[in-house]
């Protein structure tokens, strides 16, 4: 449970958050979208205490972030940074994954267990003894995610985890998070990829100029054409197609290819039935 009340934040000379009021509920899979500079990353960094609000409050799982340290909040909030190379430093993948649990003060046995589990969960067993810095980008991305996962946070904040990943790797990664979500974790996904947002998120928050200007389930969110155009966002292609064919009876809130195909086939069947 995250509660943000009237949060304001300024970088030197630049206002970044201009009054944010939002609640994140436990077990939600939420997407945070908006142009670069809208305040997405700033808001996300308030959730694990990296930034503290100048005014207003942010409460994460009962901790007031102004009083708790980043280290304390790291137990509950796992922040995956956009660039995996900002955190990779170890001589091998295993040590990299162990860094987080060690910082939490776990016993060697527990650290070992968590590391093994993380290696397994992200398919990294084969690379356990290799230096992560020498791996390809996709693998480095997995290592950075696994490293955060090893800390077993309740809330995952993913800052553009699929940028520069190909379609399949991106889906694999988000499928894993969907599985974690089903196990009860809360996920906040910051992304520019509207197709992924449409497919995975239950709730979409749109930020603009430091404010939240939309908060809706994806189907509703992507129907608000003016709002999206203003924010330079386009709905997934299949949704635009559905919107164009709205007059034929296709629901304009179709989010995925599978959904579109299903409704189109149903419609076609109906027409054939009527025609013949």
């Amino acid at each position: 449970m995250v509660e943000v009340r009237g949060a304001h934040y300024r970088y030197p000379g630049v206002p970044a958050l201009n009054g944010i009021d939002v609640d994140l509920n436990e077990g939600e899979f939420c997407a945070l979208v908006g142009q670069n500079g809208s305040g997405k990353t700033t808001l996300a960094k308030h959730l694990n205490g990296l930034l503290k609000p100048d005014a207003g409050s942010v409460t994460v799982f009962g901790h007031d972030t102004r009083r708790a340290s980043v280290g304390e909040l790291a137990r509950e909030v796992g922040y995956v940074f956009q660039n995996p190379d900002h955190q990779i430093f170890s001589a091998n993948v295993r040590n990299e994954l162990a860094f987080g649990p060690r910082n939490l003060g776990l016993s060697n046995g527990d650290v070992r267990a968590r590391t093994d589990e993380a290696l397994c969960a992200f398919g990294l067993e084969a690379y356990a003894d290799l230096p992560p810095a020498t791996l390809g980008f996709g693998l480095r991305r997995l290592v950075s995610v696994a490293a955060v996962y090893a800390m077993r946070p309740r809330l995952f904040v993913l800052d553009e985890p699929t940028a520069e990943l190909d379609w399949r790797s991106a889906h694999d990664l988000l499928d894993r998070f969907r599985a974690l979500h089903e196990q009860g974790h809360t996920v906040l996904l910051i992304s520019h990829d509207m197709e992924l947002v449409a497919e995975y998120a239950q709730r979409v928050l749109l930020m603009r100029d430091g404010r939240i200007v939309a908060d809706a389930p994806p189907a509703t969110f992507f129907s608000q054409r003016e709002l999206l155009a203003d924010a330079h966002l386009t709905p997934p292609q299949v949704m635009r197609l559905a919107q164009r064919l709205g007059d034929t009876g296709i629901p304009t809130e179709t989010l995925t290819v599978d959904a579109f195909v299903a409704t189109y086939l149903a419609l076609l069947k109906q027409r054939r039935h009527n025609a013949g």
Partner: protein, 289 residues
């Protein structure tokens, strides 16, 4: 003359350990590109797109080392022999990361850097810089520093800087992958303007299927270092199973076409949204057809 002629190219990067050997980053690459073609290069992360791009301007193998087999000729020149700086006269390159390819204190200076290296007279440099600024819609930003620009603006500067050398071949290695939707739109609009203005051979490595559908005359798909598909977009995007195996996403409408073809035994072939709308409407109007 072929702009790019690649025969039996195989390449591997230098190994991390002196006893080990890196796997082949590229193998069995055969690619011929005519002057003026727009080729999109797609593939999963680590498939070899960047390596192939860098092989076109000689960075592979001259800057990266490693072992190369086969031949790569660009505008008749052997990229293994001709120094990269000389090849740069004819091959412009835009890298993925804007941060590490912009190093001057102002936009104007950044664009002038290439022509200055070519030893052109100051008046000629000025003409080229003004032309590039105009084409990339950067005139208002000419005196800004690189750190003050947005992602889309930075990549447009990188494009302008490459264009100022007036290359015949332009290679772009995932120029929009780190950008927000607005930045991506800006870069593709800029590419469109370039196409309208100049006959240039363009090699664009990208994941943006919708833009590829709009611009490319040819789609080359790399998977695990080898070319698995080389066809015009209409044919390429129809092969959805192959693309999925290669980790590449075609435009969503192609997936719709493939699914409907599978279910209904049709031969729908659209890969862009306008054609998709027309075809789907037509089908609904005449369900038996």
């Amino acid at each position: 003359m072929l702009a790019i002629e690649i025969c039996d190219l195989a390449y591997r990067y230098p190994a991390w350990r002196h006893d080990g050997q890196a796997p082949y980053a590229l193998h069995d690459i055969n690619l011929s590109v005519e002057a003026g073609e727009f080729v999109a290069l797609m593939g999963h992360t680590g498939a070899g797109k960047s390596t192939l791009c860098m092989a076109i301007n000689g960075l592979v193998p001259q800057a990266t080392g490693g072992a190369i087999h086969g031949s790569v000729r660009v505008l008749g020149q052997d990229v293994r022999r001709v120094p990269v700086a000389q090849l740069a006269r004819q091959v412009g390159f835009v890298f993925q990361d804007p941060e590490s390819q912009l190093f001057s204190s102002t936009v104007v200076q950044e664009i002038a850097f290439g022509p200055e290296n070519l030893g052109l007279p100051a008046a000629e440099i000025k003409t080229r810089v003004d032309w590039a600024l105009e084409l990339m819609d950067l005139v208002g930003l000419r005196d800004r520093g690189p750190t003050q620009l947005s992602g889309g603006e930075k990549q447009r500067v990188a494009l302008a800087a490459a264009l100022a050398m007036q290359p015949e071949v332009l290679v772009l290695d995932e120029p929009t992958s780190g950008l927000d939707p607005r930045g991506t739109a800006e870069v593709f609009a800029a590419l469109e303007r370039i196409r309208a203005e100049r006959e240039m051979t363009v090699i664009l490595a990208t994941q943006e299927a919708e833009q590829v559908a709009q611009f490319a005359q040819r789609v080359v798909v790399l998977s695990e270092g080898a070319i698995v598909l080389d066809a015009p977009p209409a044919q390429a995007f129809a092969q959805t199973n192959l693309l999925e195996q290669a980790g590449v996403a075609p435009p969503q409408v192609s997936l719709v076409a493939a699914a409907l073809n599978a279910q209904l035994g049709l031969e729908l072939s659209f890969y862009q949204i306008d054609a998709a709308e027309r075809a789907l409407r037509a089908l609904l109007a005449d369900p038996r057809g």
